[in-house]
């Protein structure tokens, strides 16, 4: 059985693969991609599969080890139920119990969420990717195993699901087919949040069964807490990188800027996503140029974790989420800064500002602000002067979900970009109603096996469709250079990968980057040409 129309009651059935993506089901892309032929998703060879269960859709991002014996399988099922019990308890899950219970209990099955979900839409309507499908698998298990008379009434109440190892293994995989963008929740008339339910499933697997994608856990939060950054950059390596950054600033602009580190009592502690240090140092440089030329009293930190705003715990695990954000709080408190400013990283905004709001307590409760707001103040109040004609090319803006839908930071970045980019145009829809880049919830950093192919073809396809539609047919020629501004490191990574997969730089002249690069490119006190049309 491998069908687009999988039914929940068959979710636990023995089969090699429940669903296989058929490229002909995927919606067509607009001009100039009408004749674009997608590359089929490669199958995972047995050697790479290496005992992992990929029976959901043949895609491998979360490694679910296949138990060897029936007894082991039963033990895993029992452990899953134990974890589910904890997920429903105040002691173990006070962090999300209220929204979780509310979302579990009150779905009226109207399926309004399905129309809002880019994964479901761009898969061509594959049933397993319907937001309700995933949530209902969990609901049925809970109804059957945690409600009085649940098993007896299963058929009547719609709790007819077999709870076996395959059900659990597939549910773990299915939790990682959602971007947690919460667009479904936004349109739900009840306010039910399927994104939250997906995250709670991820949490159960991580916190009880030690199952989580390596990029998020072992290579993510664990590495960050051990070495200082999920990129593996140690405090010593960071200082070496900074030498390069300072030299590069001089080469690009002629300015001699010394990036401040560990300045006690500074007004601002700026925290970047450390991915910028490696992939987009121009973003670090641009922030330094803007803050220095504006005369701000600011600093970066070289303390463990203090130089990396990343917090992948947000995507899968409350304990790891809290551990990392408390490290950020500790660093800010130790430096005695007046406020923490979060650089261009959407999920870091949410972890540090919104989640941190409930866990940076007492003296650790240092005020936190979005860099979008700090930058708006500098530009709109003319603390730095800009010449918009330097950005005389078509620009569109991607809205990171965590910054917009989850935090309501919508206009500051728009006011800035409208001031510095004469050819700015919005995507449709945008702002609080945006579509995820397709790399949300950690997907952008998952680069192994065949998962990236799925990421480009399904969730990323909607964003690529939006990007193309933001420009006119004439503008879509490769000769007209265009810029997709993504003020978020993870989104930027995803958009880079999308543009590469769809060959959009060569085929349509579409480039990407952050907001600060555009600002520096327009600054009258900086030599012209900071932004280079060099796709990387």
């Amino acid at each position: 059985m491998s069908s687009k129309d999988v039914k929940i009651k068959n979710f636990g059935k023995k089969t090699d693969q429940l669903y296989k993506i058929d490229l002909s089901d995927l919606p067509k892309l607009p001009y100039p991609y009408e004749d674009w032929e997608d590359t089929p998703i490669p199958e995972i060879p047995d050697i790479k599969r290496n005992g992992k269960n990929i029976t959901l859709d043949g895609i491998l991002n979360v490694a679910v080890p296949e138990p060897q014996t029936e007894e082991e399988k039963e033990a895993m099922v029992a452990k899953f139920l134990e974890g589910l019990g904890k997920l429903l308890s105040k002691e173990n899950n006070w962090t999300f119990l209220k929204p979780f219970l509310l979302s579990l209990d009150n779905c009226v099955k109207c399926n309004t969420c399905s129309d809002a979900c880019p994964v479901f839409e761009m898969s061509g309507g594959a049933e397993i990717y319907r937001p309700l499908f995933r949530s209902d698998v969990l609901r049925r298990i809970i109804k059957k195993h945690f409600s009085p008379g649940g098993k007896l009434m299963a058929k009547f109440t719609g709790a007819d699901i077999d709870l076996n190892w395959d059900t659990i293994a597939r549910l773990a995989q299915l939790a990682y087919r959602c971007n947690l963008c919460r667009r479904c929740a936004q349109t739900c008339p009840m306010g039910v949040d399927n994104g939250l339910i997906a995250r709670e499933i991820r949490k159960l697997f991580s916190q009880e069964l030690n199952i989580a994608p390596a990029e998020l856990h072992g290579e993510g939060t664990v590495k960050q807490l051990d070495t200082g950054s999920s990129t593996g950059i140690s405090p010593v390596a960071l200082m070496d990188l900074m030498d390069f950054v300072e030299e590069d600033i001089t080469d690009r602009t002629g300015l001699n800027i010394k990036i401040p580190f560990d300045k006690a009592g500074a007004d601002i502690l700026l925290i970047h996503n450390a991915g910028e240090f490696l992939s987009w140092p121009e973003n670090i440089e641009a922030f330094a140029i803007i803050f220095e030329l504006a005369g701000l009293n600011w600093t970066l930190s070289s303390e463990m974790v203090g130089y990396d705003s990343v917090n992948y715990g947000l995507f899968y695990d409350d304990a790891q989420l809290a551990k990392v954000t408390l490290k950020h709080a500790e660093v800010a408190k130790k430096l005695g800064v007046k406020k923490v400013v979060v650089g261009e990283c959407g999920h870091a905004h949410k972890a540090i500002m919104a989640i941190g709001d409930r866990i940076w307590l007492g003296e650790s409760n240092i005020p936190r602000e979005s860099s979008m707001v700090t930058l708006e103040d500098l530009i709109m109040n003319e603390k730095i002067m800009v010449d918009p004609s330097r950005n005389e090319f078509p620009v569109t803006l991607h809205d990171p979900c965590n910054l917009t839908r989850s935090m309501g930071v919508i206009e500051p970045q728009r006011r800035v970009i409208k001031k510095i980019c004469p050819q700015f145009r919005e995507m449709t829809p945008h702002g609080v109603n945006n579509y995820c880049c397709g790399g949300g919830s950690g997907f952008a950093i998952m680069q192994s096996n065949n998962f990236p192919n799925w990421r480009y073809l399904v969730p990323g396809r909607k964003k690529f469709d939006q990007i193309l539609k933001a420009f006119t047919r004439d503008e879509l020629s490769p000769e007209t250079k265009k810029y997709v501004c993504a003020p978020c490191s993870n989104c930027k990574g995803q958009i880079r990968d999308l543009l590469t997969y769809y060959d959009a730089w060569d085929k349509a002249g579409i480039m990407y980057g952050g907001l600060v690069e555009l600002i520096v490119n327009a600054m009258v006190d900086v030599r012209e040409g900071f932004h280079e049309w060099d796709f990387h």
Partner: protein, 306 residues
């Protein structure tokens, strides 16, 4: 006491207990991490585009301006016009709006019958030729009753047909979901037949409700009306046991989660509640969590993770 009266009392009691239990389930759930979702309607001057006070420079040092009128207005539009459904799922709205409006009118009808019953017991007859209050209640009951029953019936039938004919709906709806709607259709149909044939201005039913209020004996009102009373009583008992009573949860979904953007300030009551929660003991058995320790100890461990 007439046996149907006992049934009605039992139904009301069960419904009351079920509703309280439902509200307490959410009321007692602890403070959670922030998980709001924009637009948040009380964000003054920003709700229109989905903005928040986090757009303000040094937001923590400035007074927050909440637009409670806008929030109430949003709630009213949600409750009485089903604004969210209108914008995001017009097909459902076509049936859901009459159904919900029908339920509101029907609730109003039952309340007016109760009020009328009390007044009649107190010696104020409810009639078209009585005093002003009496006339007002007489006609309001008449209008609410028929409008409510017809709208609820049409809406429930439409929703039933939609759930039965739509492929996705058939997949995700259980027999109980269809029975819930069918029960509404059946009760409304019986009520309309009864009143159009034997009690067109609800005098008899008002008398019955009055007897409930005074715990007095009621004269059995005939077979047809007894059937209606039994069906309404059973429905009153049944609805709070199903997710059709989602209005309780919706309050919490919106106010405690979706629109809850209250920042935690130093020394606040919220902070005290959070400190207490950090002392909860954790039983998760993941390798990176030290089972049995307090939450605060678990998350303050650093380095050498497994």
């Amino acid at each position: 006491m007439y046996w149907a009266q006992i049934l009605t009392y039992v139904s009301l009691f069960i419904a009351f207990v079920a509703m309280i239990a439902k509200a307490l389930r959410y009321f007692r759930a602890p403070e959670s991490f922030r998980w709001e979702l924009y637009p948040v309607p009380h964000e003054k001057g920003r709700a229109e585009y989905g903005g928040s006070y986090l757009e303000e420079l040094d937001w923590w040092s400035k007074p927050r301006h909440s637009d409670w009128f806008k929030e109430i207005s949003e709630m009213m539009q949600e409750i009485f016009l089903l604004k969210g459904v209108y914008h995001n799922n017009r097909k459902v709205w076509t049936f859901s709006l009459p159904f919900h409006l029908g339920c509101y009118f029907t609730i109003g009808w039952l309340l007016l019958l109760t009020l009328g019953g009390i007044l009649e017991v107190a010696g104020v007859p409810i009639a078209s030729d009585g005093n002003t209050i009496s006339i007002l209640i007489y006609y309001a009951t008449f209008v609410c009753g028929y409008v409510g029953l017809v709208l609820a019936g049409v809406g429930a039938l439409g929703l039933f047909m939609w759930r039965a004919s739509d492929r996705a709906q058939r997949r995700y709806n259980s027999p109980a979901d269809y029975i819930n709607l069918a029960a509404f259709v059946a009760v409304v149909t019986v009520a309309l037949i009864v009143h159009l044939s034997v009690d067109p201005v609800f005098d008899t039913l008002r008398g019955y409700v009055g007897s409930l209020v005074t715990f007095g004996a009621a004269t059995p009102p005939g077979t047809l009306m007894t059937v209606e009373i039994v069906m309404i009583s059973l429905l009153i008992m049944y609805v709070p046991l199903t997710r059709m009573s989602h209005f309780v949860a919706k309050y919490y979904l919106y106010h405690s989660v979706r629109w809850n953007d209250e920042p935690n300030m130093r020394g606040s009551k919220l902070e005290k509640r959070l400190v207490e929660l950090l002392n909860e003991k954790v039983a998760w058995s993941g390798d990176h969590i030290k089972t049995g320790k307090k939450w605060v100890d678990v998350v303050q461990e650093s380095g050498n993770e497994q």
